[in-house]
Symmetry: C2
Subunit: 360 residues, 2 copies
């Protein structure tokens, strides 16, 4: 642990949402303090952080002071402006590194990177204007989905095409932004691997979870996922290949489609991931602590699971069900402290721990 | 949950040590904020709390402002000055209640209360001066231990007597404070029950843990404890009797000696307890969340355990073993963020989760 951050060090976290909040709690367990950088007032992470800077990502003075006050910088979301990253990186290490961020900020770079590693993705084609869209449609076929290449998040900036007749409306929905057409894939279910890589290059993965989405937002993750032993090891090896290729440090979420032709990479996220929240109640070391360990140059946990878990997201008005969930046995609530419950807003989650029926 | 605190409420915590720190994290999981009141600068709890007041317990203005800013008040230690409690209680509910505090602040009141409930304690006798000490010694016999009646904590204010020849030195060690002579008890081991009682009067206990002390400080707690089924149910019923008699709301630690004559109550603590730290990695709802649930008028968790755990305290220089512990499988570290490691100071703990050898 020669490169390891000493106890009492300060970890800077860009973004003050629920992921930053849970990272901050995990950092405290390892004796670290956290400093949150977030443009919005009263962010969830600030309730459990040592320090908060409320400033925009173009406030160079605030960014410099933030960097000077921390020992290492990490982030809870991938769409951080490049200029801010340049400034921060000049002062302190940013983990995971810039390359992982650059790739995941752009759907085309991401898919080019993945296919370059020999991994399979859905068929895709860059689309700038109607000519390219029509060419892409004839190559990929319909139905397909048109997405802006950047700032994709929870189903925003996306349009479905049942056939060529939807091309005009779909292109209009992109509002002139560079886009990518993705073919639909026939898959039986989606799984994700929460993978981590340490500063020493060691890789550890949590068991894959099986995801169910509703309205483009993750609804639940069930551990263990339905996978054959061969698929399970494929999933883990594939995730490790991605992390090694990026010289990655931290936790990454890798979403996979399970198809007859094998596993297909849907998306990667260079951060802790909603589909890894189950680890909080299924493992001695959860994804948040795993990320902090990696970023701090500590040894990784091995990802082993002591319990099966079903994670359910609480979205919008689901928060009204908290009194009822609080009465359930073995249901661990994790609420984010957001004051307003808007439709589609992630308000919390519940990890239902599957306890063996017989007393031990 | 009609009396339940709504999401976003603020829980005031008296005391900013590691217990306050872990209570604050648990409160955040339920969507609450915390406000810590602590006389010392830079307390561990402040790193993960929404607000901190640094003021002494005789600062009436600070106490009033604190009370006005919170919805309910709880505490992490029992020796809070009475005048401060009077002032706070006039503004907001204090949970657990004053009676529990008053009893546990005084060893004689505590033992009188317990024996009044029909429970067994070590033989004891109040000692004010040499005459009473000699009378107590002849009744109880030696070896025995003389303790100040108040402010007892981790072996401080205590003196052992091998026989009457030690009486003078022991009495001198009390420095004129009221004291109690306690007889030694022959016991095979010590266990503790972490019990909780909700605002609705429901009681839930975690499985008893088996404690090992070193130099008067808790060294480890092992779950499950060595107890027969009859002893196990005795332990839980006895804890419930204590909580019900006090109309208690919150978590209490009940330390018991296992003797040939049955279970004997060593000590009660009206707060979350070091011997309950294992619940963080053994249960879906741990003792800290259980306490917050009670204090907030929420339903209690049932205390069920998904994993066996061995908790080890990291005292003083044990903190130097963190790099080595961080490499262990299934070892969950919980460090308190204290900057200075003094001998006897609790710096953190590790919960070693006993994961079944075969993959599930």
């Amino acid at each position: 642990m020669s490169d390891a951050l000493p106890l009492g060090s300060v970890i800077g976290i860009l973004g003050g949402g629920q992921l930053g909040r849970m990272l901050s709690v995990a950092a405290s367990r390892l004796g670290f303090r956290t400093h949150i950088y977030e443009p919005m007032e009263n962010p969830p992470a600030a309730h459990v952080a040592d320090r908060l800077t409320t400033a925009s990502y173009d406030d160079t003075e605030a960014l410099r002071a933030f960097a000077a006050s921390v020992d290492v910088i990490t982030y809870e979301f991938e769409n951080i402006p490049t200029a801010a990253l340049d400034l921060l990186e000049a002062a302190r290490p940013i983990r995971p590194n810039r390359r992982a961020l650059a790739i995941s900020q752009d759907r085309i770079s991401e898919k080019d990177f993945l296919t370059g590693l020999g991994l399979t993705t859905a068929p895709y084609s860059a689309v700038n204007g109607m000519d390219e869209l029509q060419a892409a449609l004839s190559r990929i076929g319909a139905p397909a989905i048109l997405k802006t290449t950047r700032l994709g998040y929870d189903g925003k900036g996306q349009a479905r095409l049942r056939g060529p007749e939807d091309a005009e409306a779909a292109l209009a929905a992109m509002a002139g932004a560079p886009a990518v057409l993705e073919g639909f894939v026939t898959f039986s279910h989606e799984v994700s691997v929460i993978a981590a890589r340490g500063l020493d290059g060691s890789v550890a993965c949590f068991d894959p979870g099986e995801n169910v989405h509703r309205d483009g937002i993750l609804h639940s993750t069930t551990i263990p996922a339905r996978l054959s032993p061969a698929q399970r090891s494929d999933a883990v090896l594939l995730a490790a290949r991605i992390l090694n290729a990026l010289d990655y440090v931290g936790v990454m979420g890798v979403e996979l489609f399970v198809t007859r032709q094998g596993l297909l990479v849907n998306e990667i996220a260079p951060r802790v991931h909603n589909s890894g929240h189950w680890t909080q109640n299924g493992c001695a070391i959860d994804q948040f602590e795993q990320h902090i360990r990696a970023v701090a140059g500590w040894p990784l946990g091995d990802g082993s699971r002591h319990s099966d878990v079903v994670m359910e997201n609480l979205i919008g008005d689901d928060i009204l069900r908290v009194p009822e969930i609080a009465r359930e046995r073995n249901a661990a609530l994790h609420l984010y402290g957001k004051s307003e419950a808007r439709p589609g807003r992630k308000m919390g989650h519940v990890n239902r721990v599957q306890v063996p029926a017989a007393g031990k």
